[in-house]
Symmetry: none
Amino acid sequence: MQTERSQSPKPPRREREKQRQRQEILATALTLFSEKGYHNVSMHEIAANAEFAIGTLYKFFQNKEDLYKTLVLEQCDLFDQAFAKVLDAPGDEVVKLRDYVRVKGAMFREHMAFIRLFMAESRGASFNINAGLDASVRQRYYDFLKRFAAVFENGMAKNRFKRIADPFDLAVAMDSVVNSFLLMWIDDPRKHPFPEDPDKILKLFFDGILASR
Amino acid sequence: MQTERSQSPKPPRREREKQRQRQEILATALTLFSEKGYHNVSMHEIAANAEFAIGTLYKFFQNKEDLYKTLVLEQCDLFDQAFAKVLDAPGDEVVKLRDYVRVKGAMFREHMAFIRLFMAESRGASFNINAGLDASVRQRYYDFLKRFAAVFENGMAKNRFKRIADPFDLAVAMDSVVNSFLLMWIDDPRKHPFPEDPDKILKLFFDGILASR
Amino acid sequence: MQTERSQSPKPPRREREKQRQRQEILATALTLFSEKGYHNVSMHEIAANAEFAIGTLYKFFQNKEDLYKTLVLEQCDLFDQAFAKVLDAPGDEVVKLRDYVRVKGAMFREHMAFIRLFMAESRGASFNINAGLDASVRQRYYDFLKRFAAVFENGMAKNRFKRIADPFDLAVAMDSVVNSFLLMWIDDPRKHPFPEDPDKILKLFFDGILASR
Amino acid sequence: MQTERSQSPKPPRREREKQRQRQEILATALTLFSEKGYHNVSMHEIAANAEFAIGTLYKFFQNKEDLYKTLVLEQCDLFDQAFAKVLDAPGDEVVKLRDYVRVKGAMFREHMAFIRLFMAESRGASFNINAGLDASVRQRYYDFLKRFAAVFENGMAKNRFKRIADPFDLAVAMDSVVNSFLLMWIDDPRKHPFPEDPDKILKLFFDGILASR
DNA sequence: GATGAATGAGGTTTCATTCAT
DNA sequence: AATGAATGAAACCTCATTCAT
């Protein structure tokens, strides 16, 4: 309802202002949620930090859960879009993998708050506040994995990659490894420095470890 | 003075009974926590499901957080012990990796409730209820990774593996991939069947994917 | 930023209304505490009697103890001010003593509920809920006694009183006697009627009881 | 019921042992109550400190309140007896007053824990746990005051004292002054040293303070 | 439209008391 | 007779949400 804007009487300036406020609330909530966890942040706290009245929050979002879900989904969109730009463009598959690792690293750096929040609350099965959220978030992730798998599929078709495994499995594997290294970095940037060189990770898959007998 | 009687000081039956009750509470709590998340389960709910009075729970655990931490740490011990048995025994490194994947799969199967709980609440950085928990659990995981890395280190020393990467990084990578496949299975056992054959996963690292030009 | 509007910043009517509510809560709490004692009155009971929701109480006072301390300190202020008016004014010392007894009687009459509460919970050493309260309340009483002693000191300087004892001791003695008579009256107004005539008490100190041999 | 001992079957040793336990419980309770206040001491705490099982306490006392009342009444008896010995003996009235002050001081010294408890919980009107207690404790105090008043009455009859006031009022006054000095001493023994010399207090009443004009 | 005072359900925890052993 | 495990009512307090202004 609040996103319709084809009506003429509402001046677009009002509308833009509203969107700005909405984003401000979401940004504040993201920061707080990621610092203290969903259940340890009250709506009052969000309102106070965003410098709005508590009632105003309920003008934008039906309830706390709605605010949370919106927040997560919008952030997911950002990630999806960034990855799509890399993966869907034409080009060499090895370059794509390298770019993907680089872009994912950049996104983690830029959106650390969200990563923390996401990792803390949204993993696992269908429960928690995520009840309804998981369904869609999970689906989106699988959709992403399919597109990521296409890179391997194409690479194999072009004989750039060997067919050592199912492309989807390769996608799962490589993404989980990238995530692990990035999470370790977030966890303790000193002990586990940011993997500047994408190839450090890629090599784990490019060269097999098994010595020939 | 007043507890010493003619009975053997601490009747072992009483003690065993107490342990049984304790385990019952922990089991009930694990189920509920894993289904609904820490914050969505009340102590009353646990008491009712375990068929104890609420006060009895507080005889065993100082408070809700203590119950939760105990729960997680006891489960972690189980996993640690199972993995230690596989990794610390002498033997061929490739066999060890294969056994590790097999045992981890079996543990995930047997302790699904805990896996769900753990994935849902314990990831992420140091906040949430996990505040104090994270510190130790995280450390334990890194300790495990080091022992896992030793397998690769030894394998390299024996020329069983090629030195394509740092052993610790290899440990991180392989474990994250195993986890990913197991989590996908937990998530939707139909779409992502349980990886019966450990080699399916191992091959991802054994053979490189990069085709020689 | 969000609280500044076109209205005068803090509408005085709102503010006055708030103060009225606050006083209502304090008055209700005073009555209940004095009737049943601090530990035998629940916050729900106060809320119900004051016809507020329980949450509203916590808008005004951080917790039960805060409510109690506020209550006691505000009442103490009333007494301090009333006594200060009598003792600090210039004038004959005998008149001052007479006025003090009269005013104290009037205050006891008017604030019986508080007297009961104070006598019941605040005497004794430094423990109980009074932990922190005692410190200051006790100090205030000693401060008062010093000002009361000054009356005797001045009277002695003017040769209105004989130097039969330390002025501070005289202050302690006279005040305790006045309190005793007033407490007996509160205890059972029929058996121990209100000491209308201050001189009845003063005479106990004015004339010695020892017959000359 | 437990104090009857005319029956023959119960060996007196058992009976004596029981009494010893009872006293142990009461002594422990007195210490704890006086340190932390009635409501801040749990039955478990008393049981643990007295080294009895919680059930044993309920063999001796119907409930917590019963334990408290018994405690207070037994201590009151001690005081009553000590004062009676001084006041009811024949002798000069001035000596009696002096002895009374001395004995009261000694009793306060010896039974500080009880004094603290009594002052903290038992003053004030008829409420609190004292509900039933006050009735009798208060009556006992008035009975005492009457006996104390008799000293003044007798002294007046013998022309030892002047009839400057009602003997009962004199009793009230003198006792409240003695109490005040003793309480100040308990409160802060350094600032308000123990009034070693009874005459310091008696003089306040023996000599009038009013200077003859 | 925005505000924030007011609400009250529901959370965690304590502790007096009972009763099977 | 003594024990102490078990009970559950009831305490304090938080916070998502509503609605009169």
